[in-house]
Symmetry: D2
Subunit: 396 residues, 4 copies
Amino acid sequence: MATSNDIGVTDLLPRLKDQGYDAERVARRRAWIEEKTGVSLRNIGSVSFDTEELRGNIENPIGAAQVPMGVAGPILVHGRHASGMFYIPMATSEGALIRSYERGMVALTRAGGVQTAILADENQIVPTFFFPDVASAAAFSEWAPGQMAQIRAAAESTTRHGKLTDLKCYQVGRQVLVNFGYFTGDAQGMNMLVKATDAACQWIQNNYPIASYFVFSGMCSEKRPSGFLLTRGKGKRVTAGALLPHDVLKMYLHCTAEKLFQIWHSTVIGHLHANSIGYNAQYANGLTAIFIATGQDVANVVNASCGVTNFELQPEGLYVSLMLPALTVATIGGGTGLPTQREALSIMGCYGASKAKKFAEIVAAAVLGGEISMGAAITTGGFVSAHEHYGRNRPK
Amino acid sequence: MATSNDIGVTDLLPRLKDQGYDAERVARRRAWIEEKTGVSLRNIGSVSFDTEELRGNIENPIGAAQVPMGVAGPILVHGRHASGMFYIPMATSEGALIRSYERGMVALTRAGGVQTAILADENQIVPTFFFPDVASAAAFSEWAPGQMAQIRAAAESTTRHGKLTDLKCYQVGRQVLVNFGYFTGDAQGMNMLVKATDAACQWIQNNYPIASYFVFSGMCSEKRPSGFLLTRGKGKRVTAGALLPHDVLKMYLHCTAEKLFQIWHSTVIGHLHANSIGYNAQYANGLTAIFIATGQDVANVVNASCGVTNFELQPEGLYVSLMLPALTVATIGGGTGLPTQREALSIMGCYGASKAKKFAEIVAAAVLGGEISMGAAITTGGFVSAHEHYGRNRPK
Amino acid sequence: MATSNDIGVTDLLPRLKDQGYDAERVARRRAWIEEKTGVSLRNIGSVSFDTEELRGNIENPIGAAQVPMGVAGPILVHGRHASGMFYIPMATSEGALIRSYERGMVALTRAGGVQTAILADENQIVPTFFFPDVASAAAFSEWAPGQMAQIRAAAESTTRHGKLTDLKCYQVGRQVLVNFGYFTGDAQGMNMLVKATDAACQWIQNNYPIASYFVFSGMCSEKRPSGFLLTRGKGKRVTAGALLPHDVLKMYLHCTAEKLFQIWHSTVIGHLHANSIGYNAQYANGLTAIFIATGQDVANVVNASCGVTNFELQPEGLYVSLMLPALTVATIGGGTGLPTQREALSIMGCYGASKAKKFAEIVAAAVLGGEISMGAAITTGGFVSAHEHYGRNRPK
Amino acid sequence: MATSNDIGVTDLLPRLKDQGYDAERVARRRAWIEEKTGVSLRNIGSVSFDTEELRGNIENPIGAAQVPMGVAGPILVHGRHASGMFYIPMATSEGALIRSYERGMVALTRAGGVQTAILADENQIVPTFFFPDVASAAAFSEWAPGQMAQIRAAAESTTRHGKLTDLKCYQVGRQVLVNFGYFTGDAQGMNMLVKATDAACQWIQNNYPIASYFVFSGMCSEKRPSGFLLTRGKGKRVTAGALLPHDVLKMYLHCTAEKLFQIWHSTVIGHLHANSIGYNAQYANGLTAIFIATGQDVANVVNASCGVTNFELQPEGLYVSLMLPALTVATIGGGTGLPTQREALSIMGCYGASKAKKFAEIVAAAVLGGEISMGAAITTGGFVSAHEHYGRNRPK
């Protein structure tokens, strides 16, 4: 087996001045990799903007991945924060994905549009405190909620936008997991939360002598799937729904309400049998494509795609809806300000401050389009033929 | 509320000749969006390659998202399919992510490298068959496994690469969910599977008169989190592990084995309390960044990030390992052949046929780097400072 | 197939005067079954008390099951509600179960006893309200919390003991699940809750014209396993813990702290792989035996056995603890007043009013005994031999 | 805090000759408890049979819990193993439970009876093996399946009834969980499995030098809720279903197919939101009452109540069904031979050898009765009134 001698100083990536974000140093790093591996990275190196803009979003930059971007829509949204007709930029390499979403969005729009509502807006972080025994942990569990004002002051001293909205203790043996809830405005907020919570924890440690802590307990379910996400949420909790009349179903989805309901019903059984979290047809497809296009933290798709889609038979057609309890989307910070990402957000009028709730409503409506389109494709056998038609890049 | 009159023919995206993949028509579509929304899409339009290459990966193309790409490494891998030192291309906009992974990879390499093993390689699809009652469904459940040879012939008649490896019936009342397992070679394989399974289902329908079916039951957990993924797997099931000696922990991760174990132990409690699927620190971060860089179906991160990380105290240090049961990665098909993605795969020597298992082992080793680095950052408080240092793009 | 003609009036169980709880009518019903089936029910008929006492606990009574009862202990408890040495009555037919629990309890007592704490005390019921669309459901979700005072008045008008402590809306599409939290005193409280909540729902329906509702949504997880139970709890949330010094481990459990920790660690991996809810060794064994002995609603074992056991290595030994978030136990109502059950509760000084929290703490401490004993038995191979020795009733 | 000095020899339960199962020694132990606690245990002491029969089922016996027993039915079953009309003994203290089940059973019988099928019959145990690193664990994972014949021989050398039916390796890092599947005949089989598997593990240890092991890994989900149970099963996997015509629904359940379907549909949403395992109305109620009455290991209710109930609208009425993947029931061994328990099994013709599959089918049909009755009670508001009427023992 290899030993630690195997790695030499020439194997380490070059450390460049000021971290090397200027064009010349990015090129030099790329050339180093090209030489090490014998691979030309011409396309990766084709960045259409000043590479200094990459600072804060990546380390050891060598360029950019170019992910195909298309648009789907229009989708008509009737929410409190989003209202009107929207086109949705989606970045993906999965053939037929945009066609699938587009078909669903057009059907929803033809049906009169999608109602949306933001039900909650709170991100979570759950540090954990350690005590010598159950009794002392219990004493802390009783003490902490009473210090909300001072804990809030400590937390909010580190941020202009974050607001501490809730604090709840979950004791397990001699460990106390303290669930901090925050309003994070238009940012995804995880970095803001960690910093604020660390300050709060230090205040606690200074005022409750025996506590040691870690700022993460794993309970927050950031980028992880869990039941906690459904009950407690993370970021925007949003719902969307629409009535699809029989004629719209027939004309735009080529199926009946009964058939579409049957696919929902039978796949719910499949989800239950698989012990899935929640129920959905293809949340991850739509969310991932929108997240990549708009500079979201794409790894958050794991939490964001926990939710529940519902189809209900009505005399007039099919009522379709979804609820996403953990839609961690942002319109400022993270990758939202990068050139292509900012442009994509701007297509929906969602770049910058005071836009995150609007964006969340649009995303929910768009994702609902994918739910009905996928269902329809399965019932009609169109799934196979659409992928034959649009997904031609299958292995040869 | 809006009515269906709201959507006019001028609201629909222009349908262009031959679907409009040539540069001129992509530009025309982009201009149409620019006009509709008043937004300049200059950067999205800056594609470094022939837009005809987008065909099969996207519809309604307007250009590409440029996602910052950097490299982390080196990571020394001792697997059956991957062996040697690798640099990992990662595309992300989350500041500090690459630094975090790089630190972990270097520590693993300094420790002598990561052992990896592919434990299984089978993708799943689960169509569902409908019967009038429990007795007739039970009769089918008994009949179907005996037809394996003919079902396989029907399925494999549609594909040169897919092999039907297993067939198992799960009856629920009068519905029978039939789990088809396939070997899909170096492709992610979902499209291949759907087509093959549809052919198999049609053979069944022709030979078992009363069956109707849907090709999806929801049980396959494609791009969804579920317990089924842990037991049954999806794509590559891979494990990776290494012993981190005390001196490596101290020098490269600035923490002790005991402290790193304590963070594992206490966050396992948090995961159990959250009713998470499996346990991990940040699988989704690493997987997403690699998936975007290399043209994987990024939505598969949802299933791929179900797994189990383990830290074990040893006299000589800390044994760290992970098991990913549903790592659906490909080196051919999908987005792997796109220009920047192909270059990224090539950096690891993983582009093309006979490379998927190698790639899976490298991914598992790289992701393990993120697990230890995250743990170390929490124990030392480095998490907050690293994000302060590298993630400067937080909202202003 | 059989038709509805198959069932005749002589097949229906005899309806007896005043529901037939007096000894003579219980005997007559029993004789009817004996005649129908040709089976002597002599032992089932041997009830040591007035059969009129069965009224309210069962219908169509024919006697009683005699479930073997033994005692385990003593267990020394240091809680706020329970303090001192207790003997635990357990009814079971699983050989070795009591010996296993006894061994653990004695070890905990030798170690100085078990600390316990009640962390919360709230039962849950979640009716669901239906609306025509997402917007009207969202309006209700905003309106309802503001009516807490009047909703509480309506709910509490039906009960002298139940107190409405919380009300939270979970909207999913056009359905709103309203989580009512109640303090139910010393009763398990489900019947009380249903009645109170039905009154509250009727008040809502009278004051919010368009709502229709069902009093159950399934979310409450009564007698069902779920992630919700961990976050939200049900009945008593209780924790218990103790430090087992090395000498106690050696003398009473015949194992080392390291070995016991290894079994915990390795079986946590097994639980994660199985996608279990929480982690435990054998909660269900102890809870079931105590629940049967003391007249609890035994089906509640399903929710009560969701929890988390933790073992932690310390220089001085092993810290062992558990947290049960959904321990729905009662000391009044249900089966607690039946003759043998009342006697069993009395053994622990837990029969009647103001005893439920004390009882919950004793149960948690006793169940912790089973966790350490099971772990020790596995590490020493004693599991097999103990069952050979005590469980002699295996099939011949 | 108390110290280990607190427990004296006079606090330990008296150890009596030959473990003290004869009537006189059971009485002496009971008297000891009575004296310690000042409580009369007259009813607990009223055992209608020779206390020597308790041997193998309990330790430290003091008598028996008398749990009220009634009968529900008849239920008409059309299975392969059970066929005909059955009366179901149920032991419970939950008022209205038997009335609820009886109503459902009669409705199913009026509808022409319930079809049932055993889909699988395999119990699971999953020992875990430890290796120094990932590579050596992987080598073992490849080696073990090839030794099936010899492993089977070792396992089956310890039992006349158990048959090793499957062996599958799940590697996680350097630990390998080996899933043994067994056919256990008419016994619940856990003790048989542990002994057989321990012998198999010893054979492995003798033939694969470096392996150490524990006979339990936690993955088997014995008496614990998990997703693994749905996919892999435990004991009998059984399904049951019936078509309820409109007139039966109206006459015996006082509701419509549409209303009953609505309650199913809306509570599925509640289950999904709670992150429940599977879906059911009240499995635990019926299973617990039957398990207590018939001497099953009642703690197995936790695994047995993981399953899926389905309601489907049909032109002719409502098709209702359930699937229980982990119904660990026995007709020999455990508590099945105790006097009242044997009588209860005999009522159904299910005592002794070759009866377990018959019993499993009857249980599934009976439990289905509870599913429809609960649903109907909620839709009609009868739930509240039934508990008012039958559950009169609520706290005063």
